[in-house]
Symmetry: C2
Subunit: 437 residues, 2 copies
């Protein structure tokens, strides 16, 4: 993509009302624009990141046999009356009356809707287990929306639901998601720490929040340092027994600020780390809470009715865009992990309008594109300083910098945004480095 044509309205000034780094940087980089409080439009740069995250989430959900559906944003109130949540849910639910005076709502979550779909469709124990997910916009009418896409009112969430015959089955579905989530976040370049969460009236040990570490994170956490090592994830067999992997994790100390235990922490000694974190996922087992009132039951092998055991599994997709920026940025701007970067390479033409420089850049642009690289080519007629600043701001992993003096000798500069390392190398070497992974 040529930057001269790309719709990327960057801002030099820091927006006054943006309190946290990701909000400021997303506005400054032209990734989003506010429509109204807590509601954003995604511009091309931001949407590319959102789509990359979405794709990773889809691939990892598919990999554990979770099947994608798509439920509507607007739900009938009667569904929520069946579960008893219509009145229980507070003012965060956006309640709507349609032209025929029917009570509707903008779904803040989808337990009721998915349970109804399942209950209408599935009859036999042979159809279980079943896991379904969707990625759809949700609405929670926060009283004080802030922090940009980190706590918006309209937000994109992946929510998955599992249906099993019994507790053992539900536990397996839960474990699949637990391990899959660690892999999902790792693919985005993130260290995610699972933290035991309150299970409410259901009890047991099957609710976890997933927090990623970021210096500017919203809450303080403490955990065993082994959590920072993702290597064990390679080659996990999701059809096999995941209890061992689960136990490895749940057996290690990890606690949010309100649950820290000085005794355990003292015992850990050098193995303890404290850090700040941001919640990016939450998984729950909730048994028959929805299947019972909404009739999600199947006929068992003996002809008896079995009420299904359910769980739900959420990932904040739009929130992750902000969370990743909180985890990876510096004073100059964003530093994207490669897997989610809007483009992998930023090609900077230092003398746009100079025939030789234009031609060399055009050639490199086409070579990189031809090799399947996502390239943003800064072909604008602007000063070098502004180009460097913009490229640092938007945080592409690699910057390929070409100017007339270097090109005369066949040389370019290659800059790694994360390390800041800048090397002068030949055009051929630069292309080889960028296209060989």
């Amino acid at each position: 993509m040529r930057l001269s044509r790309f719709f990327m309205p960057t801002m030099k000034e820091t927006p006054a009302d943006a309190q946290i780094a990701s909000h400021r940087l997303m506005l400054r980089a032209g990734m989003v624009r506010q429509s109204s409080a807590g509601i954003y439009s995604w511009l091309p740069l931001g949407l590319r990141v959102l789509k990359n995250i979405t794709r990773i989430v889809e691939e990892e959900q598919d990999a554990i046999g979770c099947q994608q559906v798509l439920m509507p944003t607007i739900q009938p109130a009667e569904l929520w009356r069946q579960s008893g949540r219509y009145d229980a849910y507070g003012p965060e639910m956006l309640r709507i009356t349609d032209r025929h005076d029917r009570d509707m709502l903008y779904g803040p979550t989808n337990e009721e809707q998915i349970t109804q779909i399942f209950a209408d469709a599935v009859r036999s124990y042979r159809d279980l287990p079943k896991m379904l997910y969707h990625i759809q916009w949700k609405f929670r009418d926060e009283v004080r929306p802030r922090f940009g896409v980190m706590r918006g009112r309209e937000f994109l969430m992946k929510d998955a639901y599992s249906f099993d015959l019994d507790y053992d089955g539900a536990r397996k579905s839960y474990q699949k998601h637990f391990v899959s989530y660690l892999k999902t976040y790792a693919r985005m370049g993130l260290k995610a720490i699972p933290m035991a969460a309150d299970t409410g009236p259901i009890g047991g040990d099957m609710s976890h929040e997933f927090l990623i570490l970021a210096d500017t994170g919203e809450s303080e956490i403490a955990c065993h340092k082994d959590f920072l090592d993702n290597n064990w994830l390679d080659g996990v067999d999701f059809d096999g027994d995941l209890s061992g992997v689960m136990d490895t994790f749940t057996g290690k100390y990890a606690a949010t600020d309100d649950k820290r235990d000085p005794a355990q922490e003292a015992a850990l000694g050098d193995d303890l780390i404290t850090a700040r974190g941001i919640e990016v996922g939450h998984i729950f087992y909730f048994g028959k809470k929805y299947s019972e009132p909404m009739g999600a039951k199947v006929t068992g092998p003996d002809g008896q009715e079995i009420v299904c055991e359910m769980g739900s599994y959420g990932i904040g997709v739009s929130r992750l865009v902000g969370a990743i920026i909180e985890a990876f940025h510096d004073d100059a701007g964003i530093i994207w992990p490669e897997a989610v970067a809007p483009f992998r390479v930023g090609l900077i033409n230092l003398r746009a309008g100079d025939a030789a420089c234009d031609q060399a850049c055009q050639e490199m642009y086409e070579q990189l594109m031809g090799a399947g690289q996502d390239v943003l080519y800064d072909d604008r007629d602007e000063r070098a300083g502004g180009k460097f600043a913009d490229m640092d701001l938007i945080g592409l992993p690699w910057q390929l910098i070409a100017g007339p003096r270097g090109l005369e000798k066949g040389m370019v500069e290659l800059k790694n945004r994360a390390t800041g390392e800048r090397v002068e190398i030949s055009r051929e070497s630069a292309l080889a480095r960028l296209t060989q992974g």
Copy 2:
């Protein structure tokens, strides 16, 4: 995907309230389920088609330099007050009040939102022309929603918007979309006929509806038979002058029922065809209707302010799923064009549980998947008749049928769903045919 695990709740009975073929078939094939009147959940089979259509639309929009953004579903009323449409828009607009008593609405379209984004971001004539599109759920509170996804309340639409300096530029953007739409529909296997539409107060000749032909279409049309030939589309240069291509089309007779002209039709003789059609797209030029009140202007080369010329370009993405079925079905079910089919191949194991049959099918399944084919493998322990009926119902382009008797001789049957042709050939030949395009 193994059908034994796939969430595809087919129905044998014809749903009583479904009046048209696509609605009946989408319910029977387990593609969608109704949530409330005019609002649907997409199940895995239906979502796969929706995503295929979405992908084609995205690729063709990208190809003409239209850039993807994503605006929210919920918009502030004040935006629509600025354009004057908040009061003008009737009860089809879903009006919402949030917890702070602010007037909001579920966007039925996005002219106001995109114009605001543009006006805030773009300052100079050098940034034009600009074309932006998004694919997002819209809501129109139809008084009597019916015909399934063909006239739903919550529906997925692609809407694009162009911003130009003058009428000539706007005309070029319009032409790009005009030609691009013909290509987009052709890629889905559809014959789309552009029909001049009323331009309202703006006048001129720049509004067209695109109708696809379907025997069960909602309206009658008449047109020159040349419209059925899509071959001329290959190799169109979208950066070149498209006036010639446009003229070819707009110069030929095409009229919806209310605008037919007996004299012109008589003159056409054998070149006239009459058929039924379904609207699947609509493009408009509307000049300064929104840019003027909403301040979408740039500074020209001479320092003077220029109010932008705009157009908008819609494709009914979820509607297309129904429209394609209306165009391609028979008494047994759906007949998907390959480009949008949820899977390309349906592999039918006629004797699931028979070790040799299972093994041969498993091998073919893996070979096809390994060759990049989308395969739905019917591995269920069901009667052959039911399997044939289900496979015809869901309409995959190819059926690969394997039973114990044929397999003993190394033979399988390959059925083309569209032609009904069924040939007995060797396993190797079948795989070769399916994997060589």
